[in-house]
Symmetry: C2
Subunit: 308 residues, 2 copies
């Protein structure tokens, strides 16, 4: 139920981190790209083929270290339908390796459309008499600006198929405060109100670790606000972007966890995927480099956070 | 520049409406589905094939009546990669028929990711030395909750390739007020602040009709707020969902326009796509029914709004 599956994987691996899988051609070592471009030309198909090899290699190198992966939809969409086929294959392969998959899609739309997004990413679509699964992730990120009817269709699917969502509260980017930090309601902020709404939307769906199916995104780059969000959202599992490349540290992200080290997962994308760019071996060691970076991140976070 | 292309098409057709293309299998008449399911089975490929035939037929029936179409990404994503291939083909076909294409994607993410989304939907992606176009719409919808750095990458592409965006302000769904209508800032609301931000983000990109590249979404289901938004956003082109099936009327949507009838476009999806369901001919007349509905909508809106 709810985030139990993810929390259990985190406990088993003593590692509350998720490896981002940003499908950027420029992150793929030259020797892999070369083969794909020879096969398909410098086309979206060629790029998707190269990234497929890279994603598989990364998953093979990481699956016994990290509990989860997070493909970022934007990079897959950038490769058109070939990228979306790559997204499907990547999610399937990650599942074969026992990983929890968070599709970072940040969707949000009116009820009937939210239902379609929910079918696409967590559920299934009826074609004639047949139920056809689409991307079949375990969890997605959502934008709650449109209100409860943009989130509820996802929560319905979560209940039916044991999945979860993360709704944006306070994001890690420099401009996040322009709307999110404006004073709002009674002595609150826009992101504070969003935090309250998410706790309300999720109420009643708590799993055995006490977290609802409606998680929240709270960036590592704002540690004071992270602390505050953790306190205000006791039943909410947090996804924490912004560690590493964006500037968040292990000291910062400790505030996302509860006293027992539960209730949060920290993302790193470039830090793991692009670790090979710092070893001077032209990416021939990209798997070892990614694995080392993931282990270093796990150990870095463990300096401040102990998982019971 | 900016929304000039769209405003010109609206003036030429004396029709400020956009036909939604929601790729739902259940909207497609039985005789079309039957052929596709025989060819591909009751699969996502089969559904995508049926909707491709339907979309083509709708575009053929509508292209000299409406200035624009609006495919809703959720319904295409629901069909996995086959749906995304369908989205690409649909946009290409609509362009062949001279239509302006608004991809309704409601995306929003941190800067580097927003860049990827912008490449995917409005721009192009570099693969090796080659620039590859993805979905290549004319305009997309965005969610600005994350702030200026989630919108600016799109505006950069808009300037380079003469495209535009619509950012959510006040949406048409029942739950829209939960966050959007909360009092915020100095005597304002969350959606009011978003309106101010959008006017600011777009400033300096006005085209010959006076509208910036940063349009806004404002629902027909809240006419008082629509009136207020129109007044507060004098340089902003508005996309108005909620007419018809969701309850908005021609009387309501008149407030989205400026005195010369410029500056807004009203969407109808089900009302046009599903018009055949009300004629009792099992969808054999779906093209004529869609065309009649689009003409009726144009004439209905003209009762209150005259385009100079």
């Amino acid at each position: 139920m709810s985030f139990d599956v993810l929390q259990e994987k985190i406990i088993a691996k003593k590692n509350p981190t998720v490896a981002g899988l940003d499908a950027k051609p420029e992150y793929v070592p030259e020797h892999i790209r070369k083969v794909s471009y020879e096969k398909y030309g410098q086309t979206l198909l060629g790029a998707a083929d190269a990234i497929w090899e890279f994603n598989k290699g990364l998953i093979d190198a990481l699956y016994d270290v990290v509990p989860a992966v997070k493909p970022q939809a934007a990079y897959y969409e950038r490769l058109g339908w070939a990228g979306m086929a790559l997204m499907e294959k990547t999610i399937r392969y990650a599942h074969e390796k026992g990983l929890y998959v968070i599709a970072d899609i940040k969707r949000g739309d009116i009820g009937s459309t939210a239902e379609a997004y929910s079918d696409a990413w967590l559920g299934a679509t009826k074609v004639g008499d047949v139920l056809c699964e689409g991307f079949n992730a375990d969890c997605v990120t959502l934008n709650g600006y449109m209100g409860s009817d943009s989130v509820n269709p996802f929560l319905k699917t979560c209940k039916e198929r044991d999945k979860s969502v993360f709704v944006l509260v306070k994001t890690s980017n420099p401009g996040s405060g322009e709307l999110q930090n404006v004073p709002a309601g009674a002595d609150d902020t826009v992101y504070g109100l969003m935090a309250e709404l998410i706790e309300k939307w999720g109420a009643g769906t708590e799993g055995k670790y006490g977290y609802t199916m409606a998680g929240a995104v709270a960036g590592a780059t704002h540690p004071d606000e992270l602390k505050q969000i953790r306190a205000r959202m006791p039943h909410t599992f947090l996804l924490v972007p912004g560690y590493g490349a964006q500037g968040g540290t292990a000291e910062d992200v400790q505030y996302a966890f509860q006293a027992n080290g539960h209730g949060a997962i920290v993302n790193s994308s470039r830090g793991i995927m692009c670790a090979w760019q710092k070893t001077g071996k032209d990416g021939l060691d990209y798997q070892q480099a990614a694995r080392n970076a993931a282990i270093a991140m796990r150990d870095d976070i463990a300096r401040f956070t102990t998982i019971a």
